[in-house]
Symmetry: D2
Subunit: 135 residues, 4 copies
């Protein structure tokens, strides 16, 4: 199990007329969260794409508990619980600066070869990083 945290400040442009951080924005925050988890692991998502492997999203589920507001400093906690196959699943929890959990989510993504857009196994260097963690 691998856990990573990233802090993101809610931008003015991300709020809506209700004064909330618009619910569509969190999908961007979660994307930052999983990129950070990979970075923590020593894997650059950018490098992976440059090597011809992409990770489109297959599924997104989010439960919203409380809103976030302008200028809130949120912590996105991203967790990789299961060893990935062709698909990889990330779990997210968002906390505000008062330590309150304001939402949680999960995403399923699939490794694809950029050239063919066909599903593929995770790249070896990614699996090796994961395996080396276990030891």
């Amino acid at each position: 199990m691998l856990i990573s945290e990233i802090k993101i400040r809610v931008r003015y442009a991300e709020t809506d007329k209700m004064g909330y951080c618009h619910h569509s924005v969190y999908a961007q925050y979660f994307e930052e969260g999983r990129t950070e988890l990979m970075r923590d692991l020593g894997v650059s998502y950018l490098d992976m794409e440059n090597q011809g492997i992409m990770l489109p999203v297959l599924e997104l589920k989010t439960k919203y508990l409380k809103p976030a507001y302008y200028d809130d400093v949120l912590t996105i906690k991203t967790t990789l619980k299961e060893y990935p196959g062709v698909k990889i699943k990330f779990y997210y929890e968002t906390f505000n600066q008062h330590g309150e959990k304001i939402n949680f989510a999960e995403t399923t993504l699939v490794f694809v070869k950029a050239k063919t857009m066909k599903p593929t196994k995770p790249p070896l260097f990614f699996l090796e990083k994961l395996t080396s963690l276990k030891k």
Copy 2:
């Protein structure tokens, strides 16, 4: 059961470096979809907010089947299946201009009073519109 359709063209700014309409954008399209359904019903979401009732999102689930691309003209088909209580659930299907279903989703929202942010029953004029449909 109430069904509504709206057409939305994918903007350049909504694409990402994969060339896809970014997966976070659909939450905005679905919001347009349910607003259109309410408009079809004769209810303006804006009027409802002006009368002190808001509809924050509690839950969002999306399954992505295929990507959409720049300049695609998508049809968002929004369905209201169940009579709403304090919560209201909408279902969505997105089709591209070739008639292919590219994703489907559901959202749960809650009626709240703007002043107190406490859950409340749907406004009468909304329920009356729904009831008049049945006849």
Copy 3:
């Protein structure tokens, strides 16, 4: 001189906590405006990109006169005043549903070859469409 109009409804997600359509959003509306102008002319921006010509933005100037609000139906009026060279300039005016001009803007873009990212003359088919208009 070529003029084109497109109608865009302000999305909930595009508003901010002030209740305004966030000022950054108009750059997306203007992009839709100039794409529509090209479409009116018989030129698809998508086709042009597929043929290896891209049009990145070099300069954007916007003056905001009044805000737009959620659910407003805006008209973006895009004008091409000068015959394009390597650079092309578009002018924009935004009107709300009450006919009030709420902002105006201009953008300068440059034709580049996608392969080299070097500036290039506008594609012949684009110039031919413009020339045929004059007659």
Copy 4:
């Protein structure tokens, strides 16, 4: 003269099919830039809004020199050159992680009272912070 810097990493969702950080996104970065400058000065923009003063944007001019790409870590350098009146002007320069200046911009904003939306002088505590700097 007051200068402030903030670092922002380009998100995947902010890129477009050209692979560039979409040109509309920088208006959000500049907003973060001027908020940071105010924070450096000891003024919270959020507090100011809570006290009934808002700062809508009147004018935005941006010149784009080079694109930014996904995962780039940009530095937004924001400068306040002139003592503000009812209007306040900020200047911005964006640098990528290689130290290259990739764009520059200026925005003019106006202090307004939230209740009346009428222009007003900058709040005293803001001017006092500026004056204390000079000494």
